[in-house]
Symmetry: C2
Subunit: 697 residues, 2 copies
């Protein structure tokens, strides 16, 4: 592990506020530490000479500890942390509540705490934390009622109560942990820090967590990408739904980012997002212990046809598929299986199958090069010994080194077999869908671990010109820009239709004469948002009508709003919509993840069908291309219904250029290119709207 | 119960093929019956005087039984059933395998069995069945290793092995059953028969099942609709996915209907379809024991904020919503809950909550008129006694008579509490999503039980004219019809554009002159499917060009295919697509459910986005309207993006009229109206294609 290592493997732990008082947190922590911790425990409390027979010191400065657990009341907790820092203790866990979660006084106390931690360069967990655990040293520095069993999952949670619930349940299920941390208010250390540390920890094979928010989106993505090259991360991020986001916001007191940003950010980070506690642990358990499959083709071996069909459905619902066996395998099955069975997948070895037939069939299937993983699916029969089958399954899984999921159906009679399987890292489920879910998680993580993250392309752009255009809003009350900012796109190499904004009818004519064919004319005014509604747009204007059209547009605008700030009239080349597809490329700012890019097809696709996709900027070429591929309406870009495909490369490049623009200028708060017309010959940004924060320029 | 009653409550059961031979089915059934059955058991076997000390008879005719279980080998099984019928035994369960599931010899044996059953009017279960159980009399007439516990679920399964697995598991979970039946090959009695019987059975409060197919779709729908006015039905119908359907087909040897038909048919039947075994039992357990909620507004009472957020997410995922409390409730919570808690939903009564605070909060929430159901959600703490909370939860649920779900999180320490809850019909889950899932099922069934099924409207149509048009295919090799059958729609009152099919250019002109504006002209030939591709369609033809256009169309058709059967040229009014929306109304035949209606929006919506919806015909007005409402693109019919809404009533009526047409004429194998153009002023069927089976006319 990296810098945080001492936090989980301290030599000597000081408990600041240790006491024997019944029902107190200081007592609970002392008890938990004394029970199992391999190192030394030092009670810190000026009121006592000893606590539970352990000699106490008056101040943390005298403790000679390398980890301090702070449980004293809030008004003296910050001072205790400062003393720890002064004494050279680098690792501090603040259990004490009454900080940021409790209003303005608490918030300023938390600010003070953060400053102290920075001054002394502390690894500080909390405040408002249940504590930390690490099973290799038996350290339970929490005030919870349960200690963790040893295992290879490391677990962080933004809810301390959830940790106590999980531990009680996990102990019953035989699930163990390496480290456990209750993040509390995350005043200093946050999820990215622990992911980083556990990524370097050889004893952690899976990182799991429950989060209500992510503190620094971009940092999280960058850290998680590196870690997930080797170590899977599975998280429940709650607040997925509108109702949940509202509840999370009220629970943690932080502004919730949009779930679209979390969904995009977690995906870009390589995190497997679980939607429920069950999904979280189902995925984590197999990721902890099983090898990754070489292929997504699953063999199902069963003594019962009906459940075999159910399992096939579950495979159909997942990213996996049913394996097609090689001829050798089929020959082998033909020779060894009864005629009324099924040699094709799902392999039905029939209800009278004994252990030998089961073992042989599984062995043959796992040996097949077309098989990436297998599911052992059984219903109880008089001739099948579940315990023996469990042992065979474990042995064959290890020998073939392919992932195996177990679905030994039944209740009481399955329990000893299930224990053998669980012990060997093969969780057993009654429901085939959950067995398939585990294999699905392995397949997803294999793809994540094989990802190559390209760097975002840096295009040659005119940043100075862009800055000038954006500066237009300085000193203005209304900081929105519209078509008058089309040059901004131009500065970043995003193609726009030929044309210009003019403020005199004769100039309009000059521009129009330079454009082939009729033109589109639009009034340009920051005060007039819905131009079409007031007749502020004229389409297909021939040159001879341009002069009058100019006058008419200005008159309409004046009539509509006499005091409107009229910048002029845009005279623009007609873009042929018939041969093209209207798309929208947009960006808005997420409080946690920063610029969030959006892509979709124009009109009904975004507005009615909500067929959109999101990415946190900056994006690499591959990510921009994925955006053009993963919307439901993507086939329309690629020539559905006999039409020519449009210039998808151009769309992809436009997304990347916009990504670069909004990354270069955090002052751009939101921006929409709508429509970006894509034709077989290229793309053109026909209209743009953005909002700028001049203070960030 | 109705006619099937004797099957489950026999006085005296004959076991035809009873034996003591080790490992035999006849022995297993004898043992199971002797163990617990309240009535008499009669072994039938000419080889023995007695079996397990029970006097045997030589033939079933001498048994004086009212239920015969047949386990003798296939070649003598049919004769045994005949003898039972002759002896006046009305109820027979054929355990014996080797019938329809094993090839052509077996199939003809099964046919013979069906004929015998019909001759003697037998209630016949199987063949190839595990048997039947009924807990009130302790009858276990199966050869499975487990007996069921008593309960109020009745359970049917097309997989016998699945029954043995479920029983073993259910006994461990404390889940009981009223009747259990292994359907086997369903030669006589099928799922609809058991649904019908259990619907009348006062001791069955939920019907559950595992099916791989439904024998008679329409009968099933009609039966289930009636039963689900009172009794919920929850089914796993496997073969949902393509892979699963293939596996199901190979397992049962029947042609799989499309899952679109099953999805539509089960929904129309009022059946709750579970996607997994877990979903099946999670739904069934609450439906068995809990009251239906008056509203979908849920209160969540918790001592832990984090899990409260997770639960809120699960509510957001479901059809339920978070309750908004009345002012009285909020006042009450303000007065009684600690300041750091949350009085809004999810109600956070904070980690130091004792049993009294929990009980009071739940009591207040359940008393709130805005609350339809509640979830009790806890993490383990030192101050909360789970057992006491379980008792309180049960008491308050009963007192307020509102559904309550429990999510007492934890492992070992939860077990006694979970038993108390389960006993009272409140299943406890570690995962909040599953607790929410149970309440969701209650809400769904409330809506199902309140449904009023309208009868399909019978429109005044010209059936004779329709029959004449359809008869055109008689004697033809190609039994497809195209625009030449537009009159068919007309005969059923579906509006078509003005126009006619003519076979001479001067007639074309006459027709065109009778139509306002320019016309569309299309070649009409059963041999030319893709008219546009050969230039067989002319749009916007003015009257002066009609004559030449006629000649040109015919020439093109002749050049394309000299021997084509050219019926003539269709001259049709231009339908204004700009003000309208193109829709598609179609039908194809499903092997189980018969005519299956499809509706969607034309072009990309059906072809690229697959945005379609299905119903089994005939449909009532309400069902046809639902079809226009439930596609994703439905807003486009109702005036999205500032356009005028189209004539949705007209679309709805067209679906109903098509439903009547295809119901009246089973000879129509498939039919597509594409497009049916819907404008604000009405709907017009612009083109039609159908395939007819002349033998069914």
């Amino acid at each position: 592990m990296g810098e945080l290592s001492e936090l989980f493997v301290p030599r000597r732990v000081a408990v600041v506020g240790a006491t024997e008082r019944e029902g107190s947190v200081g007592r609970a922590i002392m008890e938990n530490l004394i029970d199992d911790f391999d190192g030394d425990v030092v009670p810190v409390n000026p009121k006592y000479d000893e606590v539970f027979g352990v000699p106490a010191v008056a101040g943390v400065g005298e403790s000679d500890a390398d980890l301090a657990i702070v449980v004293v009341p809030p008004h003296i907790a910050v001072q205790a942390v400062r003393e720890a820092g002064e004494a050279g203790i680098r690792n501090v866990v603040v259990i004490t509540a009454g900080f940021g979660e409790t209003g303005s006084e608490g918030a300023s106390r938390e600010q003070e705490l953060t400053e102290v931690a920075e001054a002394y360069d502390l690894n500080l967990v909390g405040p408002n934390s249940l504590g930390v655990m690490s099973t290799p040293t038996g350290m339970n520095a929490t005030f919870g009622p349960e200690n963790a069993m040893a295992g290879e999952m490391s677990f962080m949670s933004q809810s301390g109560a959830f940790i106590t619930a999980v531990l009680d349940w996990a102990n019953d299920q035989g699930i163990g942990f390496k480290d456990v941390v209750s993040l509390g208010n995350k005043a200093v250390l946050d999820e990215a820090d622990f992911i980083d540390a556990w990524g370097d920890d050889e004893d952690t094979s899976v990182i799991i967590g429950y989060l209500e928010g992510i503190s620094e989106g971009r940092e999280f993505i960058d850290t998680a990408r590196e870690v997930t090259q080797d170590t899977p991360i599975v998280l429940v991020k709650s607040g997925r739904t509108d109702a949940g986001a509202q509840a999370a916001s009220s629970h943690t007191g932080t502004i919730a980012g949009s779930d679209q940003a979390y969904e995009a950010g977690l995906e870009q980070a390589g995190v497997i997002r679980a939607e429920s506690v069950q999904e979280l642990f189902d995925a984590a358990r197999v990721l902890e212990s099983q090898p990754l499959p070489d292929s997504d083709d699953v063999a199902v071996i069963t003594n019962a046809g009906g459940p075999g069909v159910m399992t096939t459905d579950a495979v159909g619902d997942s990213r996996l598929s049913m394996a097609s066996f090689t001829d050798e395998t089929l020959d082998e099955f033909s020779e060894t299986l009864p005629e009324e069975g099924n040699i094709y997948n799902p392999v039905d070895i029939v209800g009278d199958a004994d252990n030998e037939r089961f073992r042989n069939a599984l062995d043959v299937a796992l040996a097949d090069e077309n098989v990436g993983s297998a599911i052992v699916l059984t219903c109880p029969t008089a001739v099948l010994d579940y315990d023996e089958l469990a042992a065979d399954t474990v042995e064959l899984q290890e020998r073939h080194d392919k992932p195996v999921a177990a679905c030994f159906m039944g209740g009481e009679r399955v329990k000893p077999a299930a224990e053998v399987l669980t012990e060997a890292g093969i969780p057993n489920y009654f429901d085939p869908a959950r067995a398939v879910g585990g294999l699905d998680a392995l397949s997803r993580f294999r793809d994540i671990s094989e990802r190559e993250y390209d760097r975002p392309t840096t295009f040659d752009v005119d940043e100075e010109r862009a800055r000038e255009i954006l500066s237009d809003v300085e000193g203005r009350e209304d900081t929105r820009l519209g078509v008058e900012a089309m040059d901004l796109l131009d500065a970043y190499g995003i193609e726009t239709p030929q044309g210009d904004i003019v403020d005199a009818p004769e100039d309009a004519l000059t521009v129009a004469e330079g454009i082939e064919g009729n033109v589109v004319m639009k009034i340009v005014s920051p005060d007039i948002l819905h131009k079409s509604d007031i007749g502020g747009v004229k389409v297909g204007v021939p040159n001879e009508e341009v002069f009058d059209a100019y006058e008419d547009l200005v008159t309409r605008a004046r009539n509509y709003q006499p005091d409107a700030n009229i910048i002029g009239v845009q005279v623009q080349e007609m873009v042929d919509l018939d041969s093209g597809v209207e798309t929208i490329v947009g960006m808005n700012k997420d409080p946690q993840f920063g610029p969030l890019l959006m892509f979709g097809l124009g009109g009904i696709f975004v507005e009615v069908l909500e067929d959109t996709t999101f990415r946190v900027a900056p994006v690499a070429e591959s990510e921009a291309r994925e955006m053009t591929e993963e919307i439901d309406s993507a086939p329309l870009l690629r020539g559905a219904r006999g039409r020519d495909p449009v210039d998808v490369d151009g769309v992809t490049e436009t997304i990347q250029r916009l990504s670069q623009l909004v990354t270069d200028f955090p002052a751009i708060l939101e921006l929409d290119i709508n429509p970006l017309v894509a034709t077989p010959d290229g793309v053109k940004a026909v209209d743009v709207r953005l909002t700028v924060d001049p203070d960030q320029l």
